[in-house]
């Protein structure tokens, strides 16, 4: 059994499940689906899917609770589906360990891209000290960054920010999480620091800082590094 190909869909809407089954099967994934949180948790435990797509509005258990329970033992990616205009729910889900999110209605192409990115995602290991993104090379132990072979001058905060984002490439990091990791607990409300440093960093690492492709803004939520 190719473990890397099974996706569990937990959603109470039959039509969404059917649509996902058709779309994902066509792309070569194997689909299991559950219509509520309880079954979802059981299916996750018995099938060990390589990725879970979780709807936040479930009939029996709150999606956030399902997510927390899953994350106690499940170490593979979870992509959260939610209705629009619920930034707070999305942030909470990401803080609860979700890798990515999509708002309904979504485009299938977008969903497939997110699934591919999430499946690619592997936590950076100690023996992987150098990260490469096209022409950008980040040397973690030496705290240096090279772009097109040239050494970039980064401040220590800029480097910490870049390293954090790069280590979590493809994953959405919330503002609060980044602030906490880079600046510390007492700075989680100081989004202006983050904005200024992101702008500075973009000027140094992006080819066109006003149309960033590496350091991407997730509106109202946070940032994502790379595709």
């Amino acid at each position: 059994m190719n473990e890397n190909n099974t996706i569990l869909v937990i959603d109470d809407e039959l039509q969404i499940r059917r649509l996902l089954e058709i779309t994902l099967s066509a792309s070569g994934y194997k689909i299991i689906h559950s219509s509520n949180g309880k079954d979802g948790l059981i299916d996750a435990a018995s099938h060990h899917p390589s990725l879970i797509i979780l709807d936040l509005g479930l009939p029996d258990i709150d999606g956030q609770e399902v997510l927390s329970k899953l994350k106690e033992w499940y170490d593979k990616p979870v992509i959260v589906l939610s209705v629009r205009d619920s930034e707070e729910d999305i942030i909470k889900a990401l803080d609860n360990g979700a890798n990515d999110y999509l708002t309904k209605p979504f485009r299938s192409g977008e969903l497939l891209a997110r699934i591919r990115a999430a499946l690619r995602y592997k936590p950076v290991k100690e023996n992987e000290p150098v990260l490469e993104f096209e022409t950008l090379i980040i040397d973690l132990p030496n705290r240096t960054v090279k772009k097109d072979g040239e050494l970039l001058k980064l401040t220590s905060t800029e480097f910490s920010l870049l390293a954090l984002l790069a280590k979590n490439q493809g994953r959405v990091l919330t503002h609060q999480y980044i602030l906490k990791e880079v600046w510390g607990y007492s700075y989680t409300e100081q989004t202006q620091y983050l904005r200024v440093f992101v702008a500075q960093l973009r000027k140094k690492i992006e080819n066109n800082p006003s149309k960033p492709v590496l350091l991407v803004t997730e509106s109202g939520i946070g940032y994502r590094f790379g595709k």
Partner: protein, 506 residues
Amino acid sequence: MKIKEVAKYFSKVNPYLLSTLIVGFTALLCLPFSGTQSYHVISFILLFVVSVLATFLGIGPVFLAATLSALVWNFFFIPPHFTFHIARAEDILMFLMFFTIAILNGILTTRIRRQERLAREREIRTEVLFKLTSELSKSSGMDEVLRVAISEINKNFGFAPFFILQDGNEALFHSVWLQKNRELNQQEFDIANWVFNNCQKAGKFSTAFLTEKYSYYPLYGARVKPGVVVLELENALGEKEAYWETFLALISNALEREFLGELAQKVRFLDESDRLYKTLFNSISHELRIPVATILGSADTLISSKQDENTQKALFTEIFTASLRLNRLIENLLNMSRLESGRITVRLDWYDINDLFNKVSQDLNDELKPFNVKINLQEDMPLVKIDFGLMEQVLYNLLFNACQHAPATTSIGIDANYIEGELVIQVWDEGAGFPKNVINNVFDKFYRVNGSKTGGLGLGLSIVKGFIEAHKGTVSVENQKKGGAIFTIKIPSGSPDIINMQFDET
């Protein structure tokens, strides 16, 4: 002044005692002349005194004075003195004539006086009523009419009236029109209701519910019964009753006028909302049906028959476009209902305005493709405090509109500046602009420029306005001189405190 003071002083004394005293005093003054032949003169003096008394005393005391003076004259002055006996026949005649003249004189004088007093009162009342009429006609609005009515009643009758008006549906309403600190208990309110329904006065000093503490008077006009007025009376109104009722009739008329005014307004409002409802219903059903019909039709064709690849792709594109349109429509309806229900909470945070523009131009990538998009940001644009989600929707709607109305290959622009504590965003196009006569209506809900080719509910710009106002900002629209519309958004925003970050620079 002195005479008035004296009269005032006398008015406090018992009038019967007063007339007795004055007649007695006059008699005492004349006593030295008793026994002389001048007793005819004394009769004139006494007649004079009675006439004078009649000018300020009531009919009873004057009658007493007349009788007393006749007896005194007879006893002290008509021979034989100190007896009531009259010796000469002509003196008997004189005495009888004196008595008659004294009484007639007294009665006529008091009657003239009373009529004069009534005439004066009538004049004052006419004047008061005239003033009331003019005050009432000057005041507009239920509250002001009531205020004038209460103060005029207080001024002219000395009591504090208590108005209970109906609710506009022919039922007395217990709370709204009740004046502060005053309330009726249920029983009293029931009586007020009875008065209201029967148009009859009741309570103290009336013919029904006599044992009550208050008196209740109905207010009634030709078409509307405005309500009931409640009084706490010490004495019966008596002859003032008619005057009071005229007073009330004038107040009733003024209140009726206000009620009819409100009624007319309500009818107008109902008409308006009915019209709005129809427009809304028509346009929503139309706007929903078109994309649904497209999706249904295309899907049906795809399922039921075989097409070549090009046709298939065209049909799929139709379905896709129609779905996007449906999605936009639902998004707008949801946003509108969020605005209408007041459930918009603005979550302000610091944002790089560039991120906002990027996000929106990405979302509108396909729509903006035929245009030359120009984004102009002030060189050292600071971070601004906005709600990203709301502003995203605002810019999306403005740019989407521009794409719909401007001809392809023209420019569409966004300019952003930070001027004196305000974020100023301008979105412009090079289309035809808005017709001059409707440019002020474009932010109205469900407003659509007549003959507009593009679909839509006419919600986009009212959502823009609502979201900008939620930011305590303003939005306006003009036609540019070179052609095309330009929307200007101004949002107050501080600039962030970033001094603390300098420590990091190495």
